[in-house]
Amino acid sequence: MNLILAIKNIIIYKEPKNTYEFELLEDEQEDMKSGADHTSYGNDTSAAQSLDNSNNVYKELNKNIEEIKQEFHFPTNKDIVIREFKVMRKTNACIVYIDGMADKSTINDYILRQLMTDQEMYEDTKISIDYITNNLLAINQITKHISLDQVIMQILNGLTALFVEGCEECIVIESRGYEKRNITKPEVEMVIKGPNEAFTENLRTNLTLVRKIIRNKELVTEFVPLGKTDNLTCAIMYIKGITNPKIVREVKRRITGLDVDIIAGSGGLEQLIEDHPLSLFSQLLTTERPDKTALYLMYGKIAIICEGSPYASLAPVTFFHFFHSPEDYFLHWQFSTFLRLIRWVATSLALFLPGLFIALTIYHQEMIPTELLFALSNAREHVPLPTLFELLAMEITFELIREGGLRIPGAIGQAIGIIGAVVLGQASVAAGLASPILIMVVSIAGLSSFAIPNYSIAFAIRLMRFVFTFFGGIAGLYGITAGIFIFGGLACSMKSFGVPYFSPIAPKTKAEHNIGIIAPPWTLKERADYLNTGNRSRTGGTVRGWIRQDKRGNDK
């Protein structure tokens, strides 16, 4: 009885739960104009918040030091450095920083040296916070804080805190200088023609890389804290006036709404703020290229860059964006169009080839050309396994080689991969475990999945391949059709930050001639319709202003 109830529960229609779903609708113009700044999320670091915070900086230096020691578990915790000294040889003070996060030469030369110098001329001066900031510290960025919690947060970020006896404020001095990786070449998204810079783990560097390309005052970077325990920051970049402020608001709403101890970089963040985390298809586009980020920002999208991960996550994106390579824009549009077509072919091969093969060979023999059929059939004479099992076995072997090759260190890895593929393929044919054409099918499908420029979508397609193999094996072409219908329907119902996943094709919006075939660059005059950008036009009129208007007429 219980079982029947449970089955009934699965099948019967249930009222959908009334959850809020973000939609990007076309709105009144005024809403578009009102900037994103009206909302007060995040961190306008300053006095406003500290008022309601009881844990303020004490007047007495000792108390402050005690408090800091307690908070940082000093002296058990060896990372924290508390250096006590006298400002201008008279007032007691101390600086607090984390060893390794702060730059030592800044502290030695521009903080301690400046503060400890005996300036006899001004002996009678009263030492105050203002005096120190105005006259002593030769540091570009200084903030004053009242809340001790905020001070601690800043210390954790690598800044140096200066407490002075008798002052109820604390000076936080910019002194970040931790070890970081240099800017290197992109490893996943390599191009032949085009810039070769990639993001690094340092947030500031990454933001600079983008700003270096878009030198526009409208490019806004907002910081949002991430994670409740690890206090990472993440930056949201967008271009005011182009990006729809509603998207900015929604992204900030989602990020600030997160409550978890640690977030694993941009990959972890993406999963937490995606509209449909159960779907195989990613709804944020990850890139390691600043130029691609800049391009997408100019299209009216948002970039989310996390501290500590060398990627930018771009949103909203559609399915088609995952098949664009940055090289598409550097090459002649005809070449890029060809490359795009190749990628679409590769995608369909990677997705459907094994499924179609199984469907044709065990259900629809009449659809295979006679000669090929005889060859296939002849090759299978020695194989004792059913085709479906044979195919799955080879697919799994291929995945093994792929994963195994990745884990084997260094140069051996690649060699093992190639040798594994060749030897295993050859041997399984010789041993009569697989037919040679089947090995071709598996390898072509495997090779094709490498032609897809985005890693996450390539992975999704790699997994979907198994699903379609299964569907093809269960019900032939009918099964594959049903599979396309089911997964196509699911994918079409998805949204990436309010933008339908398959726009501008489903739903049909104004054509963006940049989906499959790339239109010549001078004809791309408008930003995508589905993004509802503040400014649709990419040009003041003619892209190539140098073309003479009377060109077509008689040049007399």
């Binding site: 000669e371 059939s377 002849n378 299978r380 094996g473 032939g476």
Partner: protein, 423 residues
């Protein structure tokens, strides 16, 4: 969790109950590539099938285990059965794989069957059977279909199926036999617009090829005047496809030789190219070879106002000169019309003779009916007019437009020097 488990159980049920019902492995099938139909002796049907044995040479695969057995890779089986489908099942007694007809390339009827008017009876199950492609070729074979299939071996390459695939092109390039598919054949059997034809095939016993005897003199023969099975040839391949079988209803009434077949295809608009030999108008003992193509679909007008319908046939042929044995300068614009006139006359006479022959047999294999139907507003009217019976009385006017367009790689012929001092 509970939900997940129930889902899994449901899926298992669903899939285990329905899945893979139709699936069959490729190598569990036996692919029939030729079907032969004869009158049976022990039962009504004598069904012959030909199939690749999937051993050496049957397919294109190089075998992993080496060693050539030297066999052709094809085999056949015959059975006498009360019906086509029972025959298939009975054949399975000796052939342990499921017979698959989806790749059948040819269907062969024996001449005996066709002349007995039995095609209708025998083609009914074949036309209804969903597995057999309507695009497979239909032959009427001189002698027994079984003998034809026995001799049907791949001479070039290892696969038979390829032979039949190129057959259609051979028909277009030579015009000596028509390209008739099951679809055309069956539809024409029922059609009120004309009568059906089939390509003639036969096993040549190679006896027409005389080993000894008087050498040929200067008498002229076109080469297309043979009937199927009579070509004076020898070699390994015994089968040949040549000429046409003419039907009236489902009864085969006559056959055409190679030349007549070419004229037939010209009128039907299916002729594309063919090389002709003609007598040199100035020196009849030597020949001129022409490469003839049809440049436009024939224009056929049919007038039914009079008691007897009038058929006006007009078509345009083009040709290149392939050889002029006499070295007479026919490229010369003054001599060229002589050649053209001569050939035009041959064609016109041939066509008239062919139409006369068919009228005598009362069979409109040219499909003139389709043009005759243009005179009627409704199909009912046309059907009551009964074209197939009126064709016999039709008057025919043939107008061939013939032009020699190119002269090959020579733009002028010069006579060869006479031998000096030689008797």
């Amino acid at each position: 969790m509970r939900k997940v488990i129930i889902m899994l159980i449901l899926c298992t049920f669903l899939l285990s109950l329905t899945s893979c019902f139709d699936s069959i492995e490729m190598d569990d099938l036996l692919y029939v590539i030729a079907i032969g139909v004869d009158k049976g002796i022990s039962d009504k049907w004598r069904l012959t099938i030909q199939f690749p044995t999937m051993q050496e040479g049957g397919g294109q695969m190089q075998s992993v285990s080496g060693g050539s057995s030297g066999s052709s890779g094809h085999s056949y089986a015959s059975i006498d059965a009360p019906s086509f489908f029972t025959g298939i099942d009975m054949l399975n007694a000796s052939l342990p794989r499921k017979l698959d007809f989806t790749h059948a390339q040819i269907i062969v009827f024996s001449e005996e069957l066709a002349e007995g008017g039995l095609i209708g009876e025998y083609i009914a199950p074949i036309a209804r059977f969903g597995d057999i492609r309507r695009s497979s070729h239909v032959f009427v074979v001189k002698g027994k279909a079984m003998d034809f299939i026995k001799e049907n071996k791949p001479l070039i390459g290892t696969t038979l199926s390829k032979n039949f695939q190129v057959l259609a092109h051979a028909s277009e390039n030579t015009g000596f036999f028509p390209h008739v598919t099951l679809e055309n054949f069956y539809e024409d059997l029922k059609s009120p617009y004309g009568q059906t034809i089939a390509a003639m095939a036969s096993v040549n016993d190679l006896k027409s090829f005389a080993g000894e005897g008087e050498p040929w003199g200067t008498e002229f023969k076109t080469g297309g005047s043979y009937f199927a099975g009579q070509l004076p040839r020898t070699g390994k391949n015994k089968i040949e496809v040549w000429g046409t079988a003419l039907f009236n209803g489902d009864k085969m009434v006559d056959k055409l030789n190679g030349d007549e077949t070419r004229f037939l295809l010209m009128i039907r608009g299916e002729f594309r190219q063919g090389r002709y030999t003609m007598k040199d108008p100035k020196r009849p003992e030597v020949i001129i070879a022409l490469d003839v193509r049809i440049s436009k679909k024939p224009e056929i007008e049919i007038d039914i106002k009079d008691e007897n319908p009038e058929i006006r046939l007009k078509f345009q042929l083009d040709a290149d000169i392939l050889s002029v044995q006499s070295m007479i300068d026919y490229e010369n614009p003054e001599l060229l019309p002589l050649l053209e006139e001569n050939f035009k006359k041959t064609v016109e006479e041939g066509i008239m003779a062919l139409i006369k022959k068919c009228q005598d047999l009362n069979t409109d294999v040219f499909y003139f009916g389709e043009n005759a139907a243009k005179n009627f507003f409704t199909i009912d009217e046309y059907e009551s007019y009964n074209w197939n019976s009126r064709f016999k009385e039709a008057r025919v006017i043939v107008d061939v437009d013939f032009a020699i367009r190119r002269t090959g790689t020579q733009i002028k012929s010069y006579p060869i020097k006479d031998p000096i001092g030689v008797e």
